[in-house]
Symmetry: D2
Subunit: 483 residues, 4 copies
Amino acid sequence: MSAGKFASAYVDRVLDPGYKNWIRLFEAYASKVHKAHLCMLSEQGIVAGDSLKRGIEETDRKFSEPGFLPEKIPQGMEDLYFLYETELGRQVGEENAAWLHTARSRNDMDGTVFRLALADRMEHFIDRAEALCRGLLERCKAGEGELTILFTHGQPANPSTTAHYLSAILLDLLEDCHGLAKALEKVDKSTMGACAITGTGFPIDRERVARLLGMDGLVVNSYQAIASSHWLTAPAQALKALMLDLGRFAADLLHKTSCEVGLYGFPDDLVQISSIMPQKRNPVIIEHLRIRAGQAMGLCAGIEDLLRNVPYQDVNEGSDAPIAQFLEAFDYAEAALDLAAATFAGMVADQARAKEIALSFGVTTTELADTIVREFGIGFRAAHGISAAFAKSGGRKESLRKAFLEKCGRELPWADEKIDAVLDPWHFVQVRTTLGGPSGTGMEAVYAEARRNLEFLKDILDSRTARLREAEAELAGAWANLA
Amino acid sequence: MSAGKFASAYVDRVLDPGYKNWIRLFEAYASKVHKAHLCMLSEQGIVAGDSLKRGIEETDRKFSEPGFLPEKIPQGMEDLYFLYETELGRQVGEENAAWLHTARSRNDMDGTVFRLALADRMEHFIDRAEALCRGLLERCKAGEGELTILFTHGQPANPSTTAHYLSAILLDLLEDCHGLAKALEKVDKSTMGACAITGTGFPIDRERVARLLGMDGLVVNSYQAIASSHWLTAPAQALKALMLDLGRFAADLLHKTSCEVGLYGFPDDLVQISSIMPQKRNPVIIEHLRIRAGQAMGLCAGIEDLLRNVPYQDVNEGSDAPIAQFLEAFDYAEAALDLAAATFAGMVADQARAKEIALSFGVTTTELADTIVREFGIGFRAAHGISAAFAKSGGRKESLRKAFLEKCGRELPWADEKIDAVLDPWHFVQVRTTLGGPSGTGMEAVYAEARRNLEFLKDILDSRTARLREAEAELAGAWANLA
Amino acid sequence: MSAGKFASAYVDRVLDPGYKNWIRLFEAYASKVHKAHLCMLSEQGIVAGDSLKRGIEETDRKFSEPGFLPEKIPQGMEDLYFLYETELGRQVGEENAAWLHTARSRNDMDGTVFRLALADRMEHFIDRAEALCRGLLERCKAGEGELTILFTHGQPANPSTTAHYLSAILLDLLEDCHGLAKALEKVDKSTMGACAITGTGFPIDRERVARLLGMDGLVVNSYQAIASSHWLTAPAQALKALMLDLGRFAADLLHKTSCEVGLYGFPDDLVQISSIMPQKRNPVIIEHLRIRAGQAMGLCAGIEDLLRNVPYQDVNEGSDAPIAQFLEAFDYAEAALDLAAATFAGMVADQARAKEIALSFGVTTTELADTIVREFGIGFRAAHGISAAFAKSGGRKESLRKAFLEKCGRELPWADEKIDAVLDPWHFVQVRTTLGGPSGTGMEAVYAEARRNLEFLKDILDSRTARLREAEAELAGAWANLA
Amino acid sequence: MSAGKFASAYVDRVLDPGYKNWIRLFEAYASKVHKAHLCMLSEQGIVAGDSLKRGIEETDRKFSEPGFLPEKIPQGMEDLYFLYETELGRQVGEENAAWLHTARSRNDMDGTVFRLALADRMEHFIDRAEALCRGLLERCKAGEGELTILFTHGQPANPSTTAHYLSAILLDLLEDCHGLAKALEKVDKSTMGACAITGTGFPIDRERVARLLGMDGLVVNSYQAIASSHWLTAPAQALKALMLDLGRFAADLLHKTSCEVGLYGFPDDLVQISSIMPQKRNPVIIEHLRIRAGQAMGLCAGIEDLLRNVPYQDVNEGSDAPIAQFLEAFDYAEAALDLAAATFAGMVADQARAKEIALSFGVTTTELADTIVREFGIGFRAAHGISAAFAKSGGRKESLRKAFLEKCGRELPWADEKIDAVLDPWHFVQVRTTLGGPSGTGMEAVYAEARRNLEFLKDILDSRTARLREAEAELAGAWANLA
């Protein structure tokens, strides 16, 4: 069992940190894997399960006793599993204990344990992300009547509503969530039975083990089961995609909440002050959202790049240290979700300011041009020219009338009130009934898509929950049947 | 139309390169967009299509005349589209020409043009990748009887077959191809009708335009249509995932083809020599595969990171320069596919060497341990100990017998021939009937999965082809109906 | 010479693109290397130089004849060098020609050729970057009297001057330029004489070749000369650092030039319009600066990551394809420099707007607090409290007087004019005589540092120019001495 | 002081983690900064130091009492500094305490605190890296007589020595260490006196504070002092460069230690076994070295990319959360150093195997060709052809003689012993007296360079130590002079 004394650098930098990672993050899953594996071995008539059943229960109990496991890995031990087998041997005899390791290897066992741990972390995260999206949908609905200004290239472009604005990022976030759910499928596959890399000569049932563990199938090719990195890169990419969107949203909102723009403000409980500048109110929550998203992205990219040019083999890139570091990415990402949720909930639209920007920067002149096109049947380019002249004049109606006369050869037959009505930002919003536009009609398709995506996401999460519940019952039954 | 004189740095570094990119990569798609947009405008009764129809046909003809377009962008022009509208104006009158731009903006137009170009490039690429996978499946079948050695942590671990080895990477590559097909769906969505960002007051039909363009639906929210980066990041991530796998495979195969290992060789037409070392035969094709894959990955990561902290707005990160650079990633990636195809097709298994490695490094002792477990009912750990003693002795049978006697208290009742048979690498392979293992039985599930995935991929590609063909006919019909 | 027929994928994806890269980018340097190598061989008495001298001159002449070199690499040729040796053989006899390759390999030759090409590209780039910095220094001086507002966390914080603002980024850019110059040193080292990896048994003089090539020394260890990647990663990191700063500056300036903030504007020749929104004036030059910088960064990161986990050996990551791609990074980066130069030169400060922001957002209240501390000897926290009350009141003087009375127990003995003077943003700037602060006194150290760094940079560039000129003369002399 | 109640997400995700980071990593440096700042304020006659001196001492004492600081940040507090000022106020009166914050801001204070913490971490790391290099130099010397084989493109190329091989990576590592030392200079600069961003109206002495803190000067421009990211990106790039080299070395050594190659082995205390494959001896230490290096690289890239497109302003990317994450990079990197040190020390050359590879793969045929060139004055290409024929024949001497006769028209006048001597790998090494080659003569320049670089590095570290010691004394003196 023991491999002799290891060099101290190796113990301090590899074995001991690994031992601690296993205790902290993975041991609970390992125990589940032991049980599912033993049930299958027994059902297949390969191993008699009775004494091992008692031994596993006893060893698990010991392992969970505070102080039972030494603080530091004992010399000569490679990992926690060696301690497990040693204790199991103490309970049921060494010879007997060793039967548990029939038709498996640390390769397939570790793979499945890491996948189980990662899948649970991901499910929890997707759950939170789904809640964020639900909250954001509510915020959209509450913002249907909130006038705002949307920008292109950093310049005010069109009036719109908070609902229209936020539902855009909502749909992107939902797509990201689906990406995560898709990645979870790749994680949630059993590698058990692949053994070292080629399976075994024992008549095992790989599918049974996967089912008892509540996993979503298995990695079919036994070499691929050990060598593939999709279970790491797929979630890393999916999480990065979500964080990238949050980071972009943060950059956009920072501009909208800067005091010169002032389209949205925050309540005091989300604002920091300056220790030296008495006037400052910094909505740094958005900055911290950007940073947490960025920190998560860094770790995700780190996982991807860690695998660059690493042989397509069993390699330790898929072992405890990188997995533990990857799990941290979800902590940063969850912090980003929480800050995003507080941001969405806390942001308060300043509609007077929206109107002011609309008028002073002439953002409704597009509609002026369009209305001229529609009402007088002249081409868009000419109408654009008339409106541009008006915009250039700083919104003077005489300039508009003069430009119209020049281009069309007749007087503009509109009263001043009509001009004002055409230029009203709220009018701008309401005529935009285009599918996906900001008016009530336009938003119908947006809400429908958001709801469809939310349902789809919920179904995925629910079906995993159901599968896990079922599997737990099945494992408990199989376990009871041992002996 | 003209925006005055532009600064020379701006012309040289932005406008002119953009103009050239448009001529080279995007203009053909823009013309299609003009047509679909005009058909819809006309069908909706917004614009009378007859003279514009003629104008577009004439302008397209002119644009395709060699020498018609100036080498360098003329001063005062922002982009190729301004030249298009100018020429159209010359054909049908400026007033008339401007009608074409009703209810659209360069924002939604550019978005759709870039997406169409990228989608076509991707489809072509996926097609090639699918062909690679089909070829690889054939190579697997041809390699069913080829003994090889698979490694873990760089050390020989288990005997297997070329079929088992290559089908592992095949299944991973197929998963990557599905990822690309999934990403293609996100690219293949119309943004038309989003106009600048909020749609329009004209009664347009966004779905009609999407259908005429043969796209797979539209980006619903009009702000999202312009601001989202999923159509760039999703394919970038998907392509990177595929390249990462090829890079890992290259690293693994480099080891297997190194002359000391020698499990696979290459024919002369894939091997370079040294200008100074007469004995060298460098299978650098694998290195070049790694490099092309790496260059593609770099460009993919570049696209993702380009969007870091960029405001969730209409930004020029989604314009011609980054798209053109991203398209290069597919060129590098396609080179990697070609080199991979040549590698798969060219690699020749040296089975004598496989057998030699199997015996000299004792890679079948796992099976020895397992057989002892199965035949004598002793625990795995004890059997492992007996086999380890045998391995340590350099494969001396007396050592095996002695260790068995010590552990089991009785003589090993096997003739020497039986021991040899148990240790035979091909026997090792054949008893591994585990689902997904290397034996014929084990491989059944692997082939089934590969075929299922290939069919699924083919269906996706076929359905896009069919949709495009249908759309082309529909657009031709609608175009004929104008006037 | 010929290595037989190569597989078509290999020719199309590796050999032919490589051949074209060599013709386009590297051949001129190869010729210089041939000459320096031959001079040294002859001087050391290893090879008689006369006929080879003539052969090289003739071959170079042929190579530069249009149409002499075939469009596509001929079958059986690995690279352009094989064609060179073939032609040389035609000129002076094959036997004779082969003498040129004595005591060298394509490994050390290629390394030196690539380094020479990269070093020249870098020098040209640093030259441009230095000019940008000189121009920026001029812009700082012109902006000494321009009031502006600087931000923290996206909120207005302190008044300052354009000079103070721009000289901050100037000093960072100069540091980046030094980083590039430092990296150039690592590139500019000869690998000649390392041969394949271990040098040679011929009595060569490596230092002589380095000197004749005008390089800054040599890579001492012959294995390192071939295996090291510092000559690629060091410039990649240095260039990325510069681009990162430009990108951050762009993000800052985009905010300052947004129409709601309006601290800086641009002349019409740097502004684009909208095809649909008549009022828009988009200073997208800053966006394109961000994008070019980002594209360059992507390529730099690509080079670094290309080398991840690549064996510390002679590998093709250091060959024509990655080098050619890396050279593109300098093109993008140079575009960024040009756009930055146009931006610096074009940005026009709106001082009325600066004053308005200063007053409406109370950015000078820090100075109010400080003056209260200085004049009345009360602690900073109390003074901060008084100023905060004033800021909160929207700048009403009675609130200030009331808060002062409450905190200090006496009346504020200042006339209203005194209060206004204390709050004047220009006063704020002028009292900040801190070393490195915005006042004239504060800026002295800033200018001194900028000038020192510019001189230092110029010295580096000048000394390379001088070294190259000297080497050219020395090589010409040695060449003439042959025969 | 208090800013009211903060939202719980903000407390949990930003303020409280920040508070804990400060206690764990930064508070000790903050105290030093308080002291240096107070000494300067007092020396400049701005603030009377006596009571504050007592207050700071008392507050520091309290802060270091276990249990004094609450576990979680109290509501209404932004950070640990607010608690500090509160406690200081309790000690010396609020009014009095506030004087300490005269002429500074959290901006310049935090910047300097973070830089001090990072600089100390870096110095410690460079110290370890320097020790690694010294050890490696010893390993080189011990390996002068160890024959080994070096590879190009994964194939055996030339015989050499362990000394020559390892000294190549040593010189690269030393260059990396210098890069780190260079980056440390940028970190080790004071930002004190920059206050928020523009300095102050108080007559402070920025250089005095920098000197009392033992820093290597100051960031001159006060805006740059707060906005620059060089102090983060420079060390991130430098650390990444070092890790990249270790990763490449690991990839190379993995090949050399694979059992088929077997040029180096490891003692048992660095080798892991397999739980299922009795024959396995995995030198996974090299894999873990690659992984730790990769994890560090990921964090370094994360820091760089975190700053992408972040406004050139005071941003929280330079605050506790990213700094704490960046510090982790040094932990991973130090693990990589330790594993590298154990690897260098533990690797045992198998010289019999080196000789065997040399002969069976004909790696000395280059020398055969060279000797033919030298002794018979024929061109390199012809000699190369003769040697290639010999190599192709599998080293049969008759083939060599036959080829010589064909090419040269005469018999090869060498006895068989002479041929063997020419082909002897150790002879190959010894004749390579080229500067930087593997022979004793060749290695002289290598050792000289290594020693020069080690000295230079040591000087840098020593001078920092001396400066810090001096500064400590100066601060102690200044502190004593208060009152």
